[in-house]
Amino acid sequence: MSPHLARDLAAIVGARHVREARAERITYAMDGLPTHRRVPDLVVLPGTREELIAVVRLLAAHNVPFVPRGAGTGLSGGALADAGSVLVVLTRLNRIIEIDHANRRATVEPGVVNAKLSAAVKPHGLQYAPDPSSQSACTIGGNVAENAGGPHCLKYGVTVNHILALELLLADGSLVDIGSRGGEPWGPDLVGLFVGSEGNFGIATRITVRLTPLPRAVRTLLADFNSVRTAGEAVSAIIAAGIVPAALEMMDQSCVCAVEDSVYAAGYPRDAAAILLAEIDGGNADAVVAETEVVTELLRKSGARSVRSAASEAERERLWQGRKKAFGAMGRLSRDLVVQDAVVPRSALPHVLETIGGIAQRYGLVVSNVFHAGDGNLHPNISFDATDPGLKERVEAASAEIMSTCIAAGGTITGEHGVGIDKVRYMPLIFDAESLGAMQAVRRVFDPYERVNPGKVVPIHACREWSRVRRSAESAYATRHTPHVTVAAP
């Protein structure tokens, strides 16, 4: 890396927004997953769209790889930068550019915090529906990169269902507008392709999202069970009845106890093998009441020991706080926590959970489960001490077995956290070499020299080479307008 790069970046963003000292760079060495650690060579924090464009064009001119990063709450090591790469932190690009409440749209910069967008549109009776557990910190740009989910995605869909249009900044510094405010794409669905590409295709500099009306009525139920299997069967019964709750979340006993021991105590019964949080919402209060009665009855018939309805908004918030802060509460169990993410067919949940319990026992690990039961999206969380090398190896081995179990059940390796670097090794278990090669070739259409977030998502060694494709992608790149490199004044 050129010794002048930091100086040139500082000329764009100001010296205080370039981190050179190791002590400062270490801050960015990890994301929410404690098993991977990379210290970036340089960190830059542009404060405006124009600064960001100038930064990326400068990096293109110097042929320097870079890694876009939001709040760093990711759980796959996706926003870590290897030596030789510059970390481009987007949290200062945090303006809500426009709220169009009549058409239920908002346009934001990538560093806007998820919960702040929902708070901003609430006075208009609207919400931004995807609600990852980290929503009080995570950014919309990061949500777009990862195609983030959340508890209420069962009814409202994941991030990709809410993104209408994007302004992209590609690796070569060129800008492209994709999608439209109406939702109909201009041509193929490049927005759908970009969302979830984990930063490999470029940076979304402007994001137009769909907003949804706040539900006028909400009922939150807490049901507890004597076994995880019975709770899983209750989930199936609700779905089979044709009811789509806003959320259907499960926590096992280990997780319940961690929450109840913490400041987030929600009043969950500690002696339950599993609890279910079911939320029914909608615009028609009568419909919500009627469906809540049906769900309550189904929970009871499926073996719930008790079913309690939140009597007030304060109680509802307390029940949800326990769920959303469960990962934090697990910090009480040990020094470190690996939050795993996999998806299985809903009907396989009881079997897979029992198998995961067996894996935990064999490796002598504490595994707590808190997950989106309605989608079959599991989060087995392994508590451990990362300073113990032997233990870390056991965690890695147990994680691999959990992934294999989910794949064998017809599932996949990630439902909302992304592949990043953590799960690159599992990609060949679910995609053949041809399909991985196709993904790599698509990436090269956007970024022919693979400079944005290198080493993530696709395991290069496992790809079948699409050599003709590489040549044609490079030729397309050569014919594309070469950006004029300008260094903006800070």
Binding site: V176, G182, I243, V419, W466, A473
Partner: protein, 402 residues
């Protein structure tokens, strides 16, 4: 050896169907592997291939050396009602698929335009959603994954069989609405819903302005119709515009929404249809879009729906129109010229509204293109993706137009 001889040697006589009026050999591979073999050979030989399903949506008239029809890819390898998931080959007719799903208590919540036997692959490749888009979203939201064969015969998988999946890039969404430009879809993993236990349709006739207001009242009342469709008199075969409201879901939800519908719209204004009448109404609507020569869709923000309907009326005439105002989606079908379509697309582009040509005779498709000219910077990306998935340009698809 002729192309036909080579294909017969490659796939057997069973794969060769009767040649159409344009004398282009029509080949129906019997498996995804056979599709890959055929396209790999076409790529090597430099043959140009047009993709067909049942032949009921896009006219079979694109100039090509051979036509690849997916109609023998009609198996349904998996229906999992408890997981609300099914896997189906691309050539199965939607009517057959619907029946098989209904027999297992499951429902694919899409009602695309076209005839009942239209293939699943055609619907996915063209992303042609119908009125149910109001309640259940566009076609892409019903897909968990696809397997497709590239123009040079490579088989690629994308997505999977589970409800959430962010493993790898989402090539499924590239295929949905790609009109076959990025490969031939051979297998589709579908997100299902439980067959609604209650499903009712209400109609209201009136002026467009009146019905638009009623539609806004329904949305304002917080009701959640599966469909809320504004239909032009010609398409509905009525004297006036028609607002169709479909409520589908659990009996509890539908009963509450029926009460809400009455309260929101002044009570008793809507006519309830019997089940067979409702079926006929929605079917007629879908089939109407496969009758006239040209069909396209446009997508604006909800507040511009009225303005867009006026624009269509002004530039092309009322003809047959169906709109989901709240979703900002409008579909038009009728007879018009290349000039008018190009002029309309330019006007719409000025309003930031994309227009997608869904079906038309080849001369129109070739000139106007399904998508038309791209915005600045998008063209190289789309060209790069096309070269990625069809490096020899074997697949005949009019994406941009001439």
């Amino acid at each position: 050896m002729t192309i036909l001889d080579k294909v017969t040697a490659l796939l057997g006589e069973g794969a060769v169907l009767e040649t159409g009026t344009d004398r282009v050999p029509r080949i129906a591979p019997g498996s995804p592997d056979a599709v890959a073999l055929l396209l790999g050979t076409a790529h090597q030989e430099g043959w140009r291939v047009r993709i067909e399903g049942a032949g009921t949506w896009l006219p079979s008239d694109a100039p090509a050396d051979l036509a690849l029809t997916t109609r023998r890819l009609d198996r349904v390898p998996a229906i999992e009602p408890s997981d609300l998931m099914a896997t189906a080959e691309a050539g199965i007719g939607l009517d057959q698929l619907r029946q098989q799903l209904a027999d297992r208590g499951a429902w694919l919540a899409i009602d695309p335009p076209g005839l009942a036997g239209r293939t699943l692959g055609s619907v996915v490749a063209t992303a042609t959603a119908g009125p149910l888009r109001h309640g259940f979203g566009p076609i892409k939201d019903h897909l968990l994954g696809v397997t497709f064969v590239t123009g040079d015969g490579r088989m690629v998988q994308s997505g999977g069989r589970v409800m959430k999946n962010v493993a790898g890039y989402d090539l499924t969404r590239l295929q949905a609405g790609g009109f076959g430009a990025f490969g031939v879809i051979v297998l589709v993993h579908l997100r299902l819903r439980t067959l609604p236990r209650a499903d009712v349709t209400y109609l209201l006739e009136g002026t467009r302005e009146e019905l638009t207001q009623v539609g806004e009242d329904i949305a304002g009342a917080g009701l959640t119709p599966a469909a809320l469709e504004l239909v032009s008199p010609a398409l509905a075969r009525r004297e006036r515009w028609v607002l169709g409201v479909r409520l589908a879901g659990s009996p509890a939800l539908v009963a509450a929404d029926e009460t809400g519908l009455g309260a929101a719209t002044g009570g008793g204004r809507f006519a309830a249809l019997r089940a067979e009448e409702a079926h006929a109404f929605w079917m007629r609507l879908a089939e109407g879009f496969a009758v006239r020569p040209v069909t396209f869709r446009i997508g604006g923000v909800p507040a511009t729906s009225d303005e867009l309907l006026d624009l269509l009326q002004h530039q092309l005439g009322d003809e047959w129109i169906s709109a989901s105002p709240a979703a900002g989606a409008i579909r038009w079908t009728g007879d018009t010229s290349i000039d008018r379509l190009q002029r309309l697309r330019r006007t719409l582009a000025g309003m930031e509204v994309p227009m997608t040509l869904e079906r038309a005779p080849w001369p129109v498709r070739g000139a106007v293109g399904h998508f038309g000219a791209y915005r600045e910077g998008v063209g190289p990306l789309v060209s790069g993706l096309r070269r990625t998935f069809d490096p020899g340009g074997a697949l005949v698809v009019a994406t941009e137009g001439s």
